[in-house]
């Protein structure tokens, strides 16, 4: 009976916690609206399984570079050239011009959501890190 009680309590806490994560915990201040073109680019990113090699916020594959801020660190034209021509490690997927443009638009959308790796942050004595682009 005690075991059921502990399980039940944890389960209720899990539901409350999850609902916080789904709403206010992730209501980032820096969420730009997603255009239809960016949404198309997002689907292409998944259709070609780009995450197998690339990362966003350090999450994904390790064969290629992290793309979170590729637009602001390089440029849209630079990214488009790479996608169109491929590289020694990335094949040319033969994308149509509108697909390349959609992918760049998606990368532009991602770029506006935050900075990775964080450039402005503070490490507390407890080991906790506070980043400049965390929501207040």
């Amino acid at each position: 009976m005690n075991n059921r009680l502990v399980f039940g309590t944890l389960f209720v806490a899990f539901i409350a916690y999850s609902s916080q994560v789904y709403t206010s915990g992730t209501a980032s201040m820096q969420t730009p609206p997603m255009s239809d073109e960016a949404r198309h680019g997002q689907q292409l990113f998944q259709d070609y399984n780009c995450i197998a090699c690339h990362q966003f916020y350090g999450l994904g594959g390790y064969m290629g570079p992290d793309l979170t801020n590729v637009i602001s660190k390089r440029s849209g034209a630079y990214s488009a050239a790479f996608i169109r021509a491929g590289t020694a490690t990335m094949p040319n997927f033969g994308l149509a011009p509108d697909e390349v443009s959609a992918l760049v638009e998606y990368l532009r959308f991602v770029d506006r959501t935050g900075t990775y790796p964080p450039e402005e942050y503070e490490v507390r004595w407890t080991g906790v890190v506070e980043q400049a682009d965390d929501p207040a």
Binding site: V21, S28, V110, P117, G127, V128
Partner: protein, 477 residues
């Protein structure tokens, strides 16, 4: 299916799991070399080999763990399965869906998110077969009127939370999540963290079940320590995922809370196995020499991974380890070193129970060789990944290619030790696959004999069937 054959569904799952693992390791080795030499096997791009490797290895964890549950409940816990037909349906559903996913990957048809890259429509049969498994499990275990041992709790929790977290992994299909990059990435990794926790529940439940059976002492499975482990594991499963997303801009309380939750579950798990090992008599270790050997290997890997897990759980260290190969070392060290060693212990425990006369053959020199090749090469593999991760973490230049060149010697060591790891594991998997096949054949042959000689030989066979502790030829009549 007769009662005597109910456990064969479990054997089928285990054999398929061993095959999936053998295939997963092959794709892992191919992917490892493509990492270094992108022109290697260009027809099979890294975008295909990576999901093939990950999906096959994760499937093997589920298949072997599920196989164990389907075997142990009717064969050793005296709980006839609620529906043997559902086991068969589950198996074929798993196999057909798995083949469809493999077909999608190899033909380059993606569309899903990382780790579930297949078109999301294929998740429907996965949900349906899981519901079938869950209903069968709970309807079977409810026949046990006594208070549940901890492994029933762990298996049940793994089943329920797989369902919840797999659903959560598909929330990106809803625009409310998909259109907010931060929310989408946080929820995605929340689900992956808990999903790993759900299969850990199945695997750790199996480890505690084996510890109980090998020692012949039920007290471990009902001890306060075991239940403390279980609830800590559950706590971690629910709230301990956020070390994956420390660097995603989100509310600070999420990462602080995850940091506090940390990874205490592994320490207690290690302690239980450690205590259990000390309590075993020599004859018990010898009787289950293979299962015992794999459990001890898992125990050592628990301690190794615990150290690494604690380091990457501290946000200040995570700043440097996140997005590097150190995370891969942690994932692979846990998957192969802990999960696979426990599940191989389960496979060889079943073999010992069903084929007591084969025990010496299955303790053969080749199996021991496979064990040592796997563990030594895994250690080299693990260290090489950590060194590659340190190289990436401390690199402060702007060129990705320059960074990759700097860590190339470590990646080469990782790829070569991956081949050795695959060879070692294949030796073990071949033994397991072959002997489980023999278990199946024996059961089918015994049914033929029973049909030909309905009374006399049946009684003879029952009289010399090994009992649940696996004592050779112990008369039970």
């Amino acid at each position: 299916m007769t009662n005597n054959e109910e456990h064969l569904g479990g054997i089928q799952f285990m054999r398929l799991g061993l095959l999936a693992l053998a295939g997963g390791m092959l794709f892992g080795v191919i992917g490892g070399f493509q990492f270094l030499f992108p022109e290697f096997l260009q027809e099979l791009l890294f975008t295909k080999t990576r999901p093939m490797h990950v999906s096959l290895v994760i499937s093997s964890i589920f298949l072997i763990a599920i196989g164990g549950i389907y075997y142990y409940l009717p064969r050793q816990c005296n709980l006839p399965l609620f529906s043997a037909k559902a086991v068969s349906l589950h198996f074929w559903g798993f196999l057909i869906t798995g083949l469809a996913i493999v077909g999608c990957y190899l033909s380059g048809r993606f569309g899903g998110r990382e780790y579930f890259e297949f078109p999301p429509i294929l998740s429907i049969p996965i949900f349906l077969t899981w519901i079938l498994f869950g209903v069968n499990y709970f309807m079977t275990t409810r026949q046990d009127k006594k208070s549940w041992p901890v492994y029933y709790w762990m298996w049940g929790t793994g089943i329920v939370f797989f369902f919840i977290t797999y659903t959560e992994a598909h929330l990106w299909l809803i625009p409310y999540f998909r259109d907010n990059m931060v929310r989408e990435i946080m929820v995605q990794w929340k689900s992956y963290g808990a999903l790993t926790g759900s299969w850990n529940m199945l695997v750790y439940g199996t480890a505690l079940y084996l510890a109980t059976r090998i020692s012949g002492c039920e007290k471990y499975a009902r001890s306060k320590m075991a239940f403390s482990l279980y609830f800590l594991g559950l706590f971690n499963l629910m709230f301990g995922w956020a070390h994956h997303t420390y660097l995603v801009p989100s509310d600070t309380w999420i990462r602080t809370f995850a940091y506090v939750v940390s990874m205490t579950e592994l320490a207690i798990f290690g302690k239980i196995i450690w205590d259990w090992r000390g309590s075993l008599e020599t004859w018990q270790k010898n009787a289950h020499c293979n299962a015992y050997r794999f459990l001890i290997a898992a125990d050592i890997w628990v301690f190794v991974n615990l150290g690494l897990a604690l380091i990457i759980s501290v946000p200040a260290f995570n700043l440097f380890t996140h997005g590097t190969h150190i995370t891969v070392a942690h994932a692979m060290g846990s998957t192969i070193g802990i999960n696979m060693m426990v599940l191989l212990a389960s496979v060889f425990f079943v073999i010992r129970e069903e084929l007591p006369n084969e025990v010496h053959a299955s303790c053969s020199k080749t199996l021991r060789t496979g064990f040592w090749i796997s563990n030594v090469s895994l250690a080299i593999f693990f260290v090489a990944l950590i060194l590659a991760g340190v190289g990436k973490g401390i690199y402060d230049g702007a060129s990705f290619q320059e960074m990759m060149l700097g860590i190339r010697p470590f990646l080469l060591t990782f790829a070569v030790s991956g081949i050795a790891l695959m060879i070692g594991m294949w030796i073990i998997l071949w033994h397991g696959f072959r002997l489980l096949g023999l278990v199946r054949r024996n059961a089918v042959n015994s049914r033929c004999i029973e049909q030909s000689y309905p009374v006399s030989l049946q009684d003879d066979q029952k009289a010399f069937r090994p009992d649940s502790r696996g004592d050779l030829g112990a008369p039970i009549g």
